[in-house]
């Protein structure tokens, strides 16, 4: 589904991704873990097209999309719930969701919105509120829900559990798992490495712009180095 080869990316002249190789197969949940500043967010931004790639290649569903502009990547089925949530603060919750389905104008949009409301009932309650007035966690829910409105084949999640209450963290992971059933592939960046590795099929570990480890999630979770460095066990 998604293949990343020798991806390099830089802010100005400072390179922060030094050749990332990564693969996500259709229907998989793949997680990326790593310390602050490892480059996880930068990687996801490259994938969604909001950060320029200096060299390397991104393949998505058999096509090279390295040079495809960000707004066209959703058309191809690649959606992102970005770091920092990036919701439309001046628009209402409902408008945010509607814009998530900007590409569509069929009947399914309403149904999708109802799904989102079922998933996060608080959003329904707040549907007419300016999204900027939501609490941090509520905004996080909105960001995830908005990404889902785009009917992605592949969903990029940047720390979706951030700022969510324990109950909801659990729920988010359930949602991610349930996406599998809906045939949505997920690339998940998480600080809650334990939770992420629990539901993931495979995982990658990033350190200072490089992939240092990868493998089946169950192996990673058992790896003592990972347990010490990221799980704090």
């Amino acid at each position: 589904m998604l293949t990343v080869e020798k991806l390099h990316s830089a802010y100005g002249r400072i390179e922060v991704l030094h050749g990332i190789d990564l693969q996500v197969k259709s229907g998989e949940i793949v997680t990326v873990v790593g310390a602050n500043g490892a480059g996880k967010t930068t990687l996801l931004k490259c994938l969604s097209g909001t950060q320029p790639v200096t060299s390397g290649q991104i393949d998505f569903r058999g096509e090279v999309i390295t040079a495809v502009p960000a707004f066209k990547r959703l058309e191809r089925g690649l959606a992102q719930s970005p770091e920092g949530r990036q919701i439309f603060t001046n628009l209402s919750v409902e408008e945010n969701l509607r814009l998530g389905a900007f590409l569509f104008s069929d009947d399914r949009v309403d149904a999708d919105m109802q799904d989102a409301f079922t998933m996060f009932p608080i959003l329904k309650e707040k549907r007419n509120l300016m999204a900027g007035g939501l609490s941090g966690g509520q905004q996080q829910m909105l960001a995830i829900a908005r990404a889902l409105m785009g009917r992605p084949h592949c969903l990029l999640l940047d720390e979706p559990s951030m700022g969510l209450a324990p109950l909801l963290v659990a729920q988010i992971f359930e949602v991610v798992e349930s996406l599998k059933a809906r045939d949505v592939t997920v690339l998940l960046v998480e600080q809650n490495a334990f939770g992420a590795l629990k539901i993931a099929d495979r995982g990658y570990v990033m350190e200072t712009g490089q992939v240092t480890m990868s493998g089946p999630a169950s192996e990673l979770i058992a790896d003592p180095r990972i347990r010490e460095a990221y799980l704090g066990i």
Partner: protein
């Protein structure tokens, strides 16, 4: 009494002119947070092009349509050639670009056209309509009507259409807009062409009343900007109400207080309103949580 009526009508006329300019600001502002200082030049282009096309023998309506279309093209060119290449520049820099563009367009207009004042005939003659002892020109009704029509159009655009929401989303968070699949470049092009067309339409409507020359844009933009801020930037309702209010204020001050200080009084009222309502009358309060 009939004096009051006259002041009201006069205020409405001038106010509608301001409102049309203020409405022109709305779209570009809503798409990019940029106040386009070349908006006045769009109005000028609408008027001047019509004048010269009409003088060249085209019937007035055709001349007007051509003027609006050409000005819309200028708007697109402005976006493509000056705004888009500066992608990522801070908003102040973009504003300076629009100031540069306004100087450029003025410079071009004085070469392509001339530096004289012009007007063309009113659409429905110059026979004043008497109303409760006061008189209003039919052209004023065109201007007022135009302001309301543009207002309704914009209002519907921003509240009822998904494209309108896409425009708002682009200004609010361009990155997120792209993530939901909005072609923000296209949104900008659309916004510039619509703003320019509205400006040109304003020029076509007001020229029989205000006259036009290559440099009328600056003054119009200034008043339109003040009106937009009084009403609350970005909101079509604000632009309409702000414009008309400003016009009425000026007329009332000129009629009852001092014609010398009518602009001053208008600005003092604007200041007073802003002190009480820092977002203008209808401006959206931005909720930013910390």
């Amino acid at each position: 009494m009939d004096a009051l009526m006259q002041f009201l009508l006069s205020g409405m006329t001038v106010g509608a002119v301001y409102a049309l300019v203020a409405l022109g600001f709305t779209i570009i502002y809503n798409a990019s947070d940029v106040v386009n200082f070349a908006q006045g030049e769009f109005v000028m282009l609408g008027g001047m092009t019509t004048v010269f096309a009409h003088a060249a023998g085209l019937p007035l309506p055709l001349a007007a349509v051509i003027a609006i279309a050409l000005t819309a093209l200028v708007g697109v060119a402005l976006n493509k050639l000056a705004i888009e290449p500066a992608r990522g520049a801070p908003v102040v820099s973009l504003i300076i670009i629009t100031i540069g563009a306004s100087i450029f367009i003025r410079g071009a207009a004085q070469l392509v056209f001339d530096k004289q004042l012009h007007r063309f005939p009113s659409f429905s003659g110059d026979e004043p309509i008497r109303l409760l002892g006061a008189a209003i020109l039919p052209q004023s009704l065109w201007v007022v009507g135009g302001a309301f029509a543009v207002f309704f159009g914009l209002w519907a655009f921003f509240t009822k259409t998904l494209t309108g929401k896409a425009v708002l989303a682009t200004a609010n968070n361009r990155l997120a807009a792209q993530l939901v699949g909005i072609n923000t470049g296209w949104v900008m092009t659309l916004s510039f062409s619509l703003s320019a067309a509205i400006g040109a339409l304003a020029g076509v409507l007001v020229t029989p009343i205000t006259l036009v020359a290559y440099d009328v844009g600056v003054g119009l933009a200034l008043k339109g900007f003040a009106a937009a801020m009084l009403g609350g930037m970005g909101n079509p309702k604000g632009a309409l109400v702000g414009g008309i209010l400003l016009g009425l204020l000026e007329a009332m001050t000129a009629g009852y207080l001092s014609s010398q200080y009518k602009d001053a009084v208008a600005f003092i009222v604007i200041l007073a309103v802003l002190f009480a309502m820092p977002q203008g009358l209808f401006g959206a309060k931005h909720t930013e949580r910390v």
